[in-house]
């Protein structure tokens, strides 16, 4: 059973070195490739990502250096010569069970601190509330108006001009503003998104804000965040919702509260 392995060992080394250089070069050039950040909690997510990248990067390089070095170094000649007898070592097993466990628990705990801030903290009472109702293949964006309350909706009332089936007999519905695909939120002010769907599951994805939450028919989901950068950003669907999934495009506009209020009152007049 003779099998030449010189070339294989060398190829492993070369592939690893070239791959690693290409990867590091890419990471440096693209600064892991995050989209410009525009929300408060997003900074936490990006930091957690970078720290995880560093830790896993070290583990990746260490394990691969060993893997590649061993394959390069310990080539047998195929003549039945014996290898080093080393079937077990309890101490080693314990070390490489506990060390990863400790690192991992640390990552979990840190992650949960941020998770709690994002999801287990009630948004302040003065949060800017917007409802997003997904449909194949568009986003209906509803603002509650001056009363701060959303009016009743009823799917039986859905028509071309009343896409979410707003019940106009409800007094709270009178000043509701419904627009298509245009999500406007105030700068440096907490925002509470309430998400629903008319048909299938969609997912509201605001990549710049590190926001993603499914819009599920039959229930309301929420996500609160604070926009920190003025400008126009993308709103995408992240849950397969049908043939137009890839072009379910919306916009996010972040602007100071005063400007937003002007825009809202213009919309109210048009509505």
């Amino acid at each position: 059973m003779k099998t030449s392995g010189r070339l294989d060992g060398l190829l492993f080394v070369l592939f690893f070195i070239i791959g690693l250089i290409a990867c590091i070069w890419y990471l440096i050039r693209h600064d892991p490739g995050f989209l410009p950040l525009a929300s408060e909690h997003g900074g936490f997510i990006d930091n957690l990502f970078v720290v995880t990248l560093i830790i896993t990067g070290i583990v990746f390089i260490l394990t691969h250096v060993l893997l590649v070095f061993f394959t390069f170094r310990y080539k047998g000649n195929g003549n039945g010569e014996k290898a080093f007898w080393y079937p077990d070592n309890k101490k080693l097993e314990i070390i490489w069970t506990i060390v990863p466990a400790v690192i991992i628990v640390a990552l979990i705990v840190w992650g949960q601190v941020g998770w709690a801030k994002i999801f287990h903290t009630n948004p302040p009472d003065d949060a800017f509330v917007v409802e997003i109702v997904g449909e194949q293949f568009a986003w209906n964006i509803r603002y509650p108006g001056e009363d701060g309350e959303f009016g009743r909706t009823n799917p039986e009332l859905i028509t071309r001009t009343n896409p979410i089936g707003l019940d106009r007999t409800d007094p709270a519905a009178e000043d509701d503003i419904v627009v298509l695909n245009e999500l406007r939120v105030p700068l440096d002010h907490p925002v509470l998104l309430k998400l629903r769907s008319k048909d299938v599951i969609h997912s509201v994805f605001l990549p710049n804000f590190r926001v993603k939450m499914d819009a599920v028919p039959g229930m309301t989901t929420t996500f609160s965040f604070k926009p920190t950068v003025e400008g126009e950003f993308d709103l995408l669907c992240a849950e397969l919702c049908g043939l137009g999934h890839y072009r379910m495009r919306g916009y996010v506009v972040v602007q100071p509260m005063e400007e937003l209020e002007v825009w809202l009152s213009e919309q109210r007049e048009m509505n």
């Binding site: 893997l67 991992i104 890839y246």
Partner: protein, 594 residues
């Protein structure tokens, strides 16, 4: 004596073509049937991925040949979005169920268990035969769904309702989806037949001396995977039946009231789309390990054999398999961090999910320790096993990103996930299949596969996998969503046009390289060098059969007795660099009758 009786019945049993090659009871033939069927499915699944990749690299470009190949799916030479989604759904379904599940545990579970534990056949040969033929029936039904008017299922392999339940939501959710659910139902029955057989055989049919603690790691891995299958698949079966009822008999398990689809208000009431996700992933996550564990077992055995070293930490390797299997049942919620599930539940699932990294890390370190100071033989099987370790590290580490819920908010349903599972589940399991085929081919067909072609196949595939899937991490980090028909609608996804073209070219070349394997595989069946009984100087029982390619009944004479643990390479006492499990040196007093 029971074993002699078995010899008699087997040897005098008259074999016809039908009983030998079609409705065979022989576990080895059934294993091969699984292997060949999975191979055909793998080619179909790969072809589907090519069509997807071509669309992603050259969106909206007219390619008249595409219409020639795909007909109405690509009118005017452009693949329609609904059929892109159908190709994607079928690619996932075929690869997960028909290739990685059936092709791995079906092939090696059947072929290896009796040979490695010293049994003449499985516990229930008839049920074993049924298991393959129900799998075949499931395959036929799934294949039929390509030819229905509205096309095959298109709601993703996870078939989330309401999209999958309402025909008006997407064309594939008509007859195609119904056939999909029927096929998966039949597939589950087949898988349960198989799992039952593997478990009972391992528990009851081991030869004398073959204690559980002396079983080769492959058998351990398949045994544990079979338990996972037995517990997880029935849950999917009940889910599939409920979805089938929702779809065709207007029940409302998963569909809430007030749905407005295709300009119509639907009359469903009271269901929950999230319920389906819980059911699906309660099955779906163990499924990942039903696929992965046998591959990890094969990898362990192959590495020990060609490093000429005992598998380092055999007990820890078994314990880590058990730990992974146990944890796999309580992590399903990590697929649902942003599904609308209570975020507190998310916290619990983070803990259980990331804990899986610990037994996984133990496995990697033990493989490395096995390679250390070994006498490595670079056969194609060994190369694929080393490749598997690399892929498993890469895919495992990205799991630490995704399992930590805050990061998953950004990465969920992006190409980062696509990269992650193609490394750790797709490619790693595929490498397990290849390592297994190259290693056991001599026992399957009595001939050797070509070494040079095997190596070439490995290098093209290994480098290709990295070129295809590694760049997807970068796309995912930027937030490029998966299951998109084209990336032309958003500026930030458009920047990856070049990368998508690169990935597509890599996928085409890597796929084409599999022709080398096919030529080697089918060519060697007839033209390969005749194999010796134990060509790799391996230690487990399958290499003790009287013929290089054993007949039904496996051993002509008595079944060998086992005196020691598996993977005994380079022992200080042994004369050669391996001691077979059936070698009685040092135990001469221990007679069979005792």
């Amino acid at each position: 004596m029971a074993s002699e009786h078995a010899v008699g019945t087997v040897e005098h049993h008259k074999e016809t073509f039908i009983s030998k090659y079609v409705f065979s009871y022989d576990h080895k033939m059934i294993g091969k049937q699984y292997m060949i069927t999975a191979l055909v499915w793998a080619l179909i699944g790969m072809a589907l991925s090519w069509i997807m990749r071509i669309q992603l690299a050259y969106p909206a470009e007219q390619m008249p040949w595409l219409e020639t190949v795909l007909g109405r799916y690509a009118e005017g030479g452009i693949l329609a979005p609904e059929y892109y989604l159908a190709m994607m759904t079928m690619h996932g379904t075929i690869m997960v169920f028909f290739v990685l599940t059936a092709g791995l545990i079906g092939t090696f579970g059947n072929f290896l268990i009796p040979l490695q534990i010293g049994a003449r056949d499985m516990a229930f040969p008839f049920i074993n035969m049924l298991s393959y033929w129900t799998f075949f029936l499931a395959s036929v039904i799934m294949l039929l769904s390509f030819f229905v008017e509205s096309g095959p299922a298109a709601a993703g392999w996870t078939v989330y309702p309401p999209l999958s339940a309402i025909a008006a939501a997407i064309p594939g959710s008509g007859a195609g989806q119904t056939l999909w659910l029927l096929s998966i139902g039949v597939f589950i029955v087949s898988s349960l037949f198989g799992s039952l057989n593997y478990i009972v055989t391992v528990l009851n049919m081991r030869t004398k001396g073959m204690t559980m603690g002396r079983m080769p790691l492959t058998v351990w891995a398949i045994f544990i995977a079979a338990i996972l299958g037995l517990l997880a698949f029935p849950v999917l079966l009940s889910g599939a039946i409920m979805l089938l009822l929702d779809k065709n008999l207007a029940t409302s398990f998963f569909i809430p009231a007030g749905l407005y689809i295709g300009g119509e208000l639907l009359s469903y009431e009271g269901g929950s789309p999230i319920l389906w996700q819980h059911i699906f992933w309660f099955f779906g996550h163990p499924e990942v390990y039903i696929v992965a564990l046998p591959a990890l077992g094969i990898c362990s055995e192959v590495i020990a054999t060609y490093a000429r070293k005992p598998l380092f930490g055999y007990k820890a390797m078994v314990a880590s398999l058990l730990a992974i299997a146990f944890l796999s049942f309580i992590v399903w919620g990590h697929h649902m961090f942003v599904s609308g599930m209570n975020p507190f539940l998310g916290s619990v699932f983070v803990l259980t999910t990331i804990l899986i990294a610990v037994p996984s890390a133990v496995k990697v370190f033990n493989w490395l320790a096995t390679l250390w100071r070994g006498k490595l033989h670079f056969t194609p099987a060994m190369l694929f096993a080393i490749g598997l370790v690399s892929l498993f590290i890469t895919g495992g580490l990205t799991g630490i990103f995704l399992g930590n819920a805050p990061i998953d908010i950004q990465l969920h349903d992006t190409y980062f996930v696509v990269a992650h599972f193609h490394f750790v589940m797709g490619a790693a399991a595929l490498f397990g299949i290849f390592a297994g085929i190259y290693h056991w081919f001599p026992k399957m067909y009595g001939r050797m596969m070509n070494n040079t072609m095997g190596k070439l196949h490995f290098w093209l595939t290994f480098i290709g996998i990295y070129l295809i899937f590694f760049p997807m991490h970068f796309m995912g980090t930027t937030g490029v969503p998966r299951r998109y028909y084209a990336f032309t609608e958003f500026e930030y996804t458009m920047q990856y046009g070049g990368m998508n073209e690169f990935i597509t070219i890599a996928a085409l070349i890597t796929g084409a390289a599999q022709i080398i394997f096919l030529i080697n595989f089918f060519g060697s069946m007839y033209l390969g060098k005749k194999a010796e009984r134990n060509p790799w100087n391996a230690t487990s029982l399958e290499w003790t059969t009287d013929d290089p390619m054993p007949g039904h009944g496996n051993w002509k004479g008595e079944i060998p007795m086992v005196y020691r643990g598996p993977h005994q390479f380079s022992t200080p006492e042994g004369k050669e660099d391996y001691v077979m499990q059936s070698d009685n040196t040092g135990f001469e007093g221990l007679e069979r009758e005792n």
